[in-house]
């Protein structure tokens, strides 16, 4: 489709850009204490964006801007997940005391720009577009991670993020350039076609390219061995940003990986293709091992943490690992399970982070000591934190279990070669129980009845409820979600 024709399908992004400009302009006229209003501007804008994304999810899949990006139900689904996460984060930012010393105008604007990048990540089918969208997201994340400029940890987080980010995107760019060199095109479908006709002498270059590209992807979803930035950045960044980084870029990252491997390196264009058949590289095994190492490392290191925020950082590495378990299969079931997992993960993980914010606002700390006897002092917060921990562990009847069930189901269904991944995933769930329930232990098992029961402030309380309800309800009845995901499993595909 030509550029002009494309515009009508690009409405969400256009509205988003207008919103961002509105945020910037509004920031000029507001006093520091009033900058929360900009969150309203962005929030309202995003709701409209979400609605228009939803509207567009019914149009037949097509490419826009001369085969730069696609619009298909899959990308719409991911965009809606991202919009939901962003809206929750905007509201939480109002209540996050860490930010109260700073103007929030730029903060909200940067989040808005990041959303544009995330949207493009989910839908690009051109390696240049892919690279640009990743960079947009990364650069916004660097700034946001270092947003607390008076806090050295935050500065450290920003700087570390820049260094790792620059390095891994450099490596990825090199990989992409190899692909371009071999195939002479930047378009996914042309590349796919060209790779199919390469002879085996090109294999070494192809393997190099594959590994280098995966470095960039792995960095985005914090897969081992590209995860080193995660704990420090997550710990130093403002908690709202930590929460955001642990869900939204991950969702977009998985969308990008699925699209890339599915359409560039898969055997066939049909969704059933499940091997990267053009090289003799044992690709499913490599990804499988990476997934297992990722979740095992995340879980084992999380056990030793004293700060709950840092523990959640490692736990988010582990969750990336669970989702990666489905990548070696990459069948339609696998993609479905990742989509469902991402959706429930947004709620349970954000919920846990919101409680971290609530406790930090109250006590000023985020170590296990601050949670001592919390279940007796703030029973509702304690109970809901227990729910989030249950869900993150993946115990029924919570949403986290449904996510894991789908992943495990995919692997068992894929047969003999993938059974060891299920066993590894299962054992990891057991390991993760230990540290998630350490939180529950300090909240409830120590301490005793207190006469002063306190409740979180209404805004935070509302947010926690909003995340807790899906974390529980989706564990008991997720048929609408499953149907929605099934309808969204339509990719734009093209044969040359």
């Amino acid at each position: 489709m030509t550029n002009l024709q494309s515009l009508e399908f690009f409405v969400p992004e256009i509205i988003l850009v207008i919103t961002i400009l509105a945020c910037l302009i509004a920031d000029l006229f507001l006093k520091k204490s009033k900058t929360d209003l900009i969150g309203w501007v962005l929030g309202v804008g995003l709701i409209i964006v979400g609605l228009s994304v939803y509207n567009l999810s019914f149009v037949p899949p097509t490419t826009l801007f001369l085969d730069m990006i696609v619009i298909d139900p899959f990308s719409s689904y991911m965009k809606i997940v991202i919009v939901i996460a962003t809206l929750l984060i905007i509201v939480a930012s109002w209540a996050n005391n860490e930010l109260s010393e700073y103007r929030k105008g730029e903060y909200f604007t940067l989040i808005g720009i990041m959303v544009v990048g995330l949207f493009l990540m989910t839908s690009s089918i051109d390696i240049i577009m892919l690279y640009v969208s990743i960079e947009v997201v990364s650069i916004m994340s660097f700034v946001l991670a270092g947003y607390l400029k008076l806090n050295t940890r935050s500065n450290e987080a920003g700087l570390k993020y820049v260094i790792y980010g620059a390095f891994s995107s450099g490596v990825m760019l090199f990989g992409l350039s190899l692909v371009y060199g071999m195939t002479g095109s930047t378009n996914y479908f042309v590349i796919q076609e060209a790779i199919a006709s390469l002879d085996s002498s090109a294999n070494p270059a192809l393997i190099m390219a594959l590994l280098m590209i995966f470095a960039g992807f792995g960095y985005k979803i914090s897969s081992v061995p590209f995860h080193f930035w995660t704990p420090d950045v997550y710990e130093g960044a403002p908690t709202t940003i930590t929460a955001y980084l642990s869900v939204a870029p991950k969702a977009a990252g998985f969308a990008m990986i699925i699209r890339f491997f599915h359409q560039v390196f898969s055997d066939s264009i049909a969704l059933s293709g499940n091997t990267m058949g053009y090289t003799d590289l044992p690709w499913p095994e490599i990804i499988g091992v990476l997934a297992v190492v990722t979740m095992t490392l995340g879980n084992l290191v999380a056990i030793q943490q004293e700060s709950i925020k840092r523990m959640l950082a490692y736990s988010s590495i582990a969750h990336a690992g669970y989702m990666m378990l489905a990548l070696p299969v990459l069948s339609i079931d696998a993609i479905e399970s990742i989509m469902i997992y991402l959706f429930v993960y947004v709620f349970m993980n954000l919920g846990a982070f919101f409680i971290v914010i609530t406790v930090k606002n109250k006590t000023g700390g985020e170590t296990f000591d601050e949670y001592d006897g919390l279940g007796w002092k703030m029973p509702i917060v304690g109970s809901l934190m227990t729910l989030f921990m249950l869900s993150l562990t993946g115990l029924p009847p919570t949403a986290g279990f449904v996510g894991k069930l789908y992943i495990f189901k995919t692997l068992v269904g894929a047969g003999n070669d993938f059974l060891w991944l299920v066993v590894a995933g299962g054992i990891n769930s057991v390991i993760s129980l230990y540290y998630y329930f350490r939180v529950v232990k300090v909240m409830f098992l120590t301490g005793s009845r207190s006469d002063e029961i306190s409740y979180p402030p209404p805004l935070m309380f509302g947010l926690i409820i909003v995340t807790a309800v899906p974390s529980l309800v989706l564990g008991l009845y997720w048929n609408p979600l499953a149907n929605w995901v099934k309808e969204s499993l339509v990719f734009y595909t093209q044969t040359m």
């Binding site: 189901k409 068992v412 299962g426 769930s429 129980l433 098992l445 499953a482």
Partner: protein, 514 residues
């Protein structure tokens, strides 16, 4: 009547919600409401029992609703002669347990809300016929148990609680993999009855890791259940959890939760893969033997009265395992000895019930003395018989029941297990009689040390067992004595279902590959 099974599950869930919203200062109100809810539950269970048709060995009172059609998950409940006695036992022990917990002082509201949730979980496992539902209830039990041990338990409660949780979760994860394996091989369904129909055919020839998938799935499921039983070597969580848990929770753990393991083996492993029984029965009987001997030896070494009772549970569940292994007698290669298979299986199912009542009684009685003396050291008492004659009498009765004296229900079921297993596993049966000896030794020796001899000066003022405590023990004692003399009503209740299971296993002998 139509939805009586749902009623059984949902009464305690609603009850837990009601209790959670009661004002937290009205502690007695919470206790009365919980008693009322479990009482109602017990009445419903009795109504169910009276309207149950014992001649029919298949599922009764079935309920079926669509739940998650995209994964073929349904809400299916049903009851047969295997689960009915367990449901009755559950309803009864949970009702009694409320009175055992009467003197809980800490966070009463939370305690009873979790208690009722546990009740719902246990009943759900016994009643559900859909694997997904089954698994949900199986896991729903864990969280209340974790809190009940961890918050209201003894000094080492935190460690005991997480150990229990980790062990059981490990088992259930393996179970989940087994369930998913069945889901895919048997045509993408979680419906247990449907899987039972399809599994023998669907599983034959499927290979996992170079082994027959049926064997792998059998082992995965078995480990999940074995941890609950607990079968040696997965038993180490049990003594700890039992000792640290508050009295009522020990009662429920021993009385009901351990039965879930054996129930699961019979319902799921036997029901779905009857041909593999022949492959595994020898191992099962051997594990039973190890349980009997190991549990007995450990019990003998204990100085903590509660730990002694805990190890006696391991010992007693061993008889049950030997009993269920005996069903292979029905196979052609073992001479189609249907009588032996019947004796073994019915004995094992009877033993589940009897151990439920007897161990509940033992734990309540240990709790009684602990409440007064604040310790349970067997050597720290002495001569209590002169101080507490009624308590001594009842404890004597419970101990005799525990050691399987004729005239008590335990004797009947243990004898049946042995009679059933003898034709097939002669050596194991002979060796496991050592267990009976140990069994008698540890109970009698403990009894002697606690009740006979000089009265310990410290306990001159020890109060006699009170009315509330008697109220919790007497019904159990009566049941034990009644079934000891006249086990017929129980055996008639389960016979049709047992026959059906045995018939299936006997038929499976024809296609079982050793």
């Amino acid at each position: 009547m139509e939805n009586i099974l749902s009623l059984l599950i949902w009464i305690p869930i609603l009850g837990a919600i009601i209790v959670a919203f009661l004002p937290r200062d009205k502690e007695n109100l919470v206790r009365y409401v919980s008693a009322a809810i479990t009482g109602l539950e017990f009445i419903v269970a009795i109504v169910l029992w009276r309207s149950f048709d014992p001649v029919n060995g298949s599922m009764q009172f079935m309920e079926r609703y669509e739940w998650i059609p995209s994964l073929n998950i349904s809400y299916i409940l049903g009851i047969d002669g295997l689960s009915l006695p367990m449901v009755l036992l559950t309803a009864m022990l949970f009702f009694i347990g409320v009175f055992v917990s009467w003197n809980i002082e800490k966070a009463v509201k939370g305690y009873f809300a979790l208690y009722l949730l546990l009740n719902a979980g246990v009943l759900g496992v016994f009643l559900s016929l859909d694997f997904f539902l089954f698994y949900i209830f199986w896991e729903v039990m864990l969280l209340p148990m974790y809190f009940l041990i961890g918050m209201w338990g003894g000094p080492q409660r935190e460690y005991a609680a997480i150990k229990f949780f980790l062990y059981t979760l490990f088992g259930s994860v393996l179970m989940l993999i087994g369930i998913l394996g069945l889901y895919f091989t048997c045509g993408k369904t979680f419906d247990i009855l449907l899987i039972m129909d399809r599994a023998p055919e669907a599983l034959s020839g499927v290979i996992w890791w170079g082994m027959s998938a049926a064997k792998v799935i059998w082992v995965l499921l078995f480990i999940g259940f074995a941890i609950k039983v607990p079968v040696f070597p997965f038993h180490t969580w049990l003594p700890l959890a039992h000792v640290e848990a508050p009295t009522a929770i020990s009662v429920l753990l021993a009385g009901i939760l351990l039965k879930l393991g054996v129930y699961g083996i019979i319902r799921v492993n036997y029901g779905i893969m009857p041909d593999q029984v022949y492959w595994f029965a020898g191992g099962l009987a051997f594990l039973g033997l190890v349980n009997v001997i190991w549990g007995g030896l450990c019990a003998l070494a204990q100085t903590d009265l509660k730990k002694l009772v805990a190890y006696s549970s391991i010992n007693h569940m061993g008889y049950s395992l030997i009993g269920i292994a005996a069903v292979v007698a029905a196979g052609e290669m073992n001479g189609s000895d249907l009588k032996a298979a019947q004796a073994g299986l019915s004995g094992a199912v009877f033993q589940m019930f009897n151990h439920g009542t007897i161990s509940a009684m033992l734990f309540i009685l240990v709790g009684v003395v602990y409440d007064r003396a604040h310790h349970r050291d067997i050597n720290g008492f002495g001569g209590l018989a002169s101080q507490m004659p009624i308590y001594t009498g009842i404890t004597a009765l419970a101990f005799f029941a525990g050691l399987g004296l004729p005239g008590f229900s335990g004797f009947v079921s243990e004898a049946m297990c042995f009679i059933g297993a003898f034709p097939v596993f002669k050596a194991i049966v002979v060796l496991s009689t050592i267990g009976i000896l140990l069994n008698a030794a540890y109970f009698l020796w403990a009894f002697q040390r606690v009740f006979f001899g000089e009265l310990n000066e410290k306990y001159k003022d020890m109060k006699e067992i009170n009315g509330l405590e008697l109220f919790t023990v007497i019904p159990l004692a009566i049941i034990t004595l009644f079934f000891g003399v006249y086990p017929r009503p129980y055996l008639d209740l389960i016979k049709a279902t047992m026959d059906q299971i045995i018939e299936k296993i006997a038929f499976a002998a024809s296609y079982a590959v050793m």
